[in-house]
Amino acid sequence: MDAFLHQIFSGLANGCIYGSVALALVMIYQATHHINFAQGEMATFSTFIAWALINSGWPYWAAFFATVAISFLAGVLVQRIILRPVEKAPVLTNVIVFIGLLVIFNSLAGWIFEHTIKSFPSPFAQKGMLATSIFSAHELGSALVMLCVLAALYAFFKFTPVGLAMRAAAQNPESARLVGIRVSWMLAMGWGLAAAIGSVAGMMVAPVVYLDPNMMGGILLYGFAAALLGGIDNPGGAVLGGFIVGVLENLLGAYVIGTELKLSVALVMIVGILTLKPNGLFGKHVVTRV
């Protein structure tokens, strides 16, 4: 029973990570209707920045917040410089640009920080009072951090004027522009937020899977699955989707198919969701006008 509970809890902890990657994807999808294939590599790159800061003697939490801020700025810059010129281009162009970003971030991480596998510190003491037989301190800690991020995001979108403006820009760009919202900058804000959320996810997952340039490859795939399961235009759904995918992955891995085929599980999930219920569990039904 303990082992089963342990699987569930570590599934939930993984689910937090998947959920936050999914959340970052949803941020960009809502604003621009594009799926950001470079999300995982951007998060990995942010984690490398945090690693470099910590290694040069910064305290953990200072490095943490500095990384989030740097990632936010970098996200805004990427949108302004690289994505803005192709905003209205066909889907294929956008996918190719995203793939270009993916390989650039991946190779830059390898180039600057080298391909060796690095350990990344966890801020939560290994044998602290938080740890029990069912979950480790890091699992609980990272879950708490992710919940804080969620709460902060919810508050931001619900109670601040900028959050309101961003929602307006995503829902109805034309009307938003008419009431004086700078829609293009709101998209950039969305990119910044996505990059910041991604960096938190990266820093939380790095102590578990170790840091190397390809760290997020598989995680991004689960993030996709989570986002699709929850409905790609629904932030709350994405997080819930993350939890479901995390628990499902752990239980299937432990009791049914073993850990070797984990990525295939994600593939089956993605194709299955897309063909059977393309809007996800909580997504809006979209009707296209001819």
Binding site: H34, I35, F37, I82, P85, V86, A89, V91, L92, T93, N94, V95, I96, V97, I99, G100, L101, L102, V103, I104, N106, S107, L108, G110, W111, H115, G217, G218, L221, F224, L228, E260, L261, K262, L263, S264, A266, L267, I270, V271, L274, T275, P278, V290
Partner: protein, 329 residues
């Protein structure tokens, strides 16, 4: 006059291609082999993405399936290498057709996403322990390079295994390019382009959307699978880790560099993805991919129609000048 020049140029090109392997060392010839093979794979992806507008980030997986089909047939069934190519094509056509079905419901990004997941999952599937008897697991399969059926010397160089395979791949590539050209220049090609540009209008004109789209997927996968089989024969080795998602991205780079929806562009794209990493490798291990990324984004801004688009633009600029010059004289 113009026609004569064209004939002379084509003859020169063919002679050049035939003499080429005897001018270089074996390793270079091996690289030329890979260019020819990549050209077929890039052409396959271009039929789907360039002509039909279906975005696939998973063609490396079909390349892997083709390579493994050939390797398993040669290693386990003792088949001669040339006989494995049709099998690789048929198997990949089947896989592509099956992938084409969910693709019918997935537009744009979602298809890219599903195929990306496919490309990520394939190396893991190839390592799966219950099929290890066939695939050789993590170690992969080591093959023998086929010996040339006859031998002669030309320009003081013997017909080595690599040189023989160069001619073999070149013949297959010529056949595949001819097939693609024949397929795309007529009614089917027009239907595929119509689906890409306006699916609803295409349906209204009587194009059977599901059939054409899944057939395009199947044919495209078959081309890439044949390339994969040739690749396995030339490299004489297959292993799961040589077919990562990066291979799929490499093929996409080839398509974009050569030019979307251009048949001869595949050759330029293939040469690019074969030789640029070799040059860039000397700067840093990561440099090839940084360059790939920069080229992908740069081309999308500056030259969305790739090398072939550039050639066409230059040709169009030269022609009126020539016409007015001849009119004056």
């Amino acid at each position: 006059m113009n026609k004569n020049i064209k004939i002379v140029l084509s003859v020169l090109l063919v002679v050049g291609l035939l003499v080429l392997p005897f001018l270089f060392k074996n390793y270079r010839v091996f690289q030329f082999n890979l260019v020819v093979i990549y050209a077929i794979a890039v052409l396959g992806l271009n039929m789907l993405t360039g002509f039909n507008g279906q975005i696939s980030l998973g063609h490396g997986a079909f390349y892997a399936v083709g390579a493994y089909t050939a390797a398993v047939l040669m290693d386990k069934a003792g088949m001669p290498y040339w006989a494995t190519l049709p099998f690789a094509g048929v198997v990949c056509f089947g896989f592509g057709f099956l992938m084409g079905f969910p693709a019918l419901r997935l537009g744009g990004h979602y298809l890219a996403l599903a195929t990306y997941a496919f490309a990520l999952a394939v190396p893991q599937l190839l390592k799966y322990k219950h099929i290890e008897g066939f695939t050789g697991g993590v170690q992969g399969i080591v093959l023998n390079k086929p010996e040339p059926p006859f031998s002669f010397r030309f320009l003081d160089q013997p017909l080595s295994a690599d040189r023989w395979l160069y001619f073999f791949s070149l013949a297959i590539a010529a056949l595949m390019f001819l097939l693609a050209w024949n397929l795309l220049r007529g009614r089917i090609g027009r239907a595929l382009i119509a689906i890409r540009d306006h699916p609803i209008a295409a349906t209204a004109m009587g194009v059977n959307l599901p059939v054409f789209k899944s057939m395009a997927f199947g044919v495209s996968a078959a081309f890439t699978g044949v390339a994969g089989a040739l690749g396995a024969i030339c490299v004489a080795f297959v292993s799961p880790d040589s077919f990562t998602v990066l291979l799929s991205i490499t093929l996409l780079v080839g398509v974009v560099v050569g030019g979307l929806a251009s048949i001869p562009g595949a050759i330029f794209g293939a040469a690019f993805i074969q030789f640029i990493p070799n040059i860039a490798d000397e700067i840093s291990k990561s440099a090839p991919w940084a360059i790939y990324g920069a080229v992908l984004i740069g081309l999308m801004y500056l030259m969305p129609s790739g090398v072939m688009g550039l050639i066409r633009t230059i040709g169009a600029k030269l022609r009126p000048a020539k016409a007015s010059a001849s009119a004056r004289s």
